[in-house]
């Protein structure tokens, strides 16, 4: 395992191009009014870009299952922090007789 997985240079260049295209796309999309979809597209592209970096530049694609679990748990916990906190803000004032 010491040598690790050596990815071909061409792969790195491909990923690089994909990331640049993604960036360009986000900027372009921002100038069109898609209403609610703007956020979805923007964050969707950002997630895709992050995934590419994690999988290829950071070699997770070729790493042990443990690395997957560790990286995944980081994002899972972030999601916990976001979603449960928001559950408070979004449901404030639902109950009659209480205030936001």
């Amino acid at each position: 395992m010491t040598a690790g997985h050596v990815a071909p240079k061409s792969l790195y260049y491909t990923i690089f191009v994909a990331l640049m295209v993604g960036t360009a796309l986000t900027v372009v999309v921002a100038y069109f009014d898609l209403g609610f979809l703007n956020n979805v597209v923007m964050l969707g592209i950002a997630c895709a870009k992050a995934l590419l970096v994690v999988l290829f530049f950071m070699h997770v694609r070729w790493s042990t299952r443990l690395t997957w679990v560790v990286a995944g748990s980081g994002f899972l916990w972030l999601l916990i922090l976001f979603s449960i906190t928001m559950s408070d803000y979004m449901s404030r004032g639902w109950m009659p007789g209480t205030l936001k």
Binding site: T26, V27, N39, F57, H59, T67, L78
Partner: protein
């Protein structure tokens, strides 16, 4: 049966050993074996050492995710509470600089990946050093742009605090809040870049001194992981800070 034992202490009892090599583990026995000069004494072999280091860095990156996570949560909550203000405030940021910096960071991630690859394949120090220097240079460009952006904000009075120019905004409160988060998030990110460049400088010197080869390149690999992480943070910061609500047009 146990011979002498002091008051209350029951002393050893006779039980079979838990380990197969009970005698060998005891002190006094001396074993010497040949090993790689970079192997620390408490590891069995190089691969155990390398795996420990990469796992350690991944675990550290998880803590980094949560560290930024607190700020992202604040952003999420406040943007949800006052979306119009965030849109207005976001207009004041330059999409051009933001996009440029995103491209710069992505490129630095590429050069970093190539630096790791160079070490991995045992490429000559010159090429390792080349990619590392490229990475640092791109990092410096990013920071330079940030300096330009920041100073523009100081000049036009959109730095939160008593001197915040409330007259600029339809939503002065929300805008001040947005810029508080903006400075926290980008400032912390920039701090990570600075630390990253520092680490990279050390690694470059080591690479120059021929410390890395196909058997031992963990430091390059581990710093690479850190650098890519910092890149990922920016991949999210860019759309969240610069691109919201562009379609509301106009601005100023």
């Amino acid at each position: 049966m146990p011979n002498h034992h002091p008051e209350h202490f029951p002393g050893p009892i006779h039980q079979p050993p838990l380990v197969a090599n009970l005698q060998a583990i005891q002190p006094g026995v001396h074993v010497e074996h040949a090993h790689h000069p970079k192997l620390q004494h408490h590891f069995d072999d190089m691969s155990q050492q390398a795996e420990a280091s990469t796992l350690g860095m991944w675990v550290f990156l998880v803590t980094e995710i949560m560290f930024f996570g607190g700020l992202f949560t604040a952003y999420l909550v406040y943007r949800w509470a006052d979306p119009m203000a965030f849109q207005e405030a976001s207009h004041h940021l330059s999409i051009g600089w933001g996009a440029f910096n995103t491209a710069v960071l992505i490129m630095s991630s590429l050069t970093m990946a190539l630096a790791v690859r160079a070490a991995q394949t045992g490429a000559p120090p010159k090429s390792q050093v080349f990619w590392l220097v490229c990475t640092m240079a791109l990092g410096a460009v990013f920071l330079g742009v940030k300096v330009i952006e920041y100073s523009e904000k100081f000049a036009s009075g959109i730095v939160p605090g008593p001197n915040f120019n409330r007259a600029l905004w339809e939503h002065p409160a929300g805008a001040e809040q947005f810029y508080s988060l903006y400075f926290c998030m980008t400032g912390l990110h920039a701090l990570h870049m600075i630390i990253g460049i520092g680490i990279m400088a050390v690694i470059t010197v080591m690479a120059w001194r021929r410390q890395f080869d196909a058997d031992y390149y963990t430091p390059v690999e581990v710093s690479g992981l850190y650098w890519h992480f910092v890149d990922i943070v920016w991949i999210f910061l860019f759309p969240l800070l610069y691109l919201i609500g562009r379609h509301y047009g106009g601005g100023h």
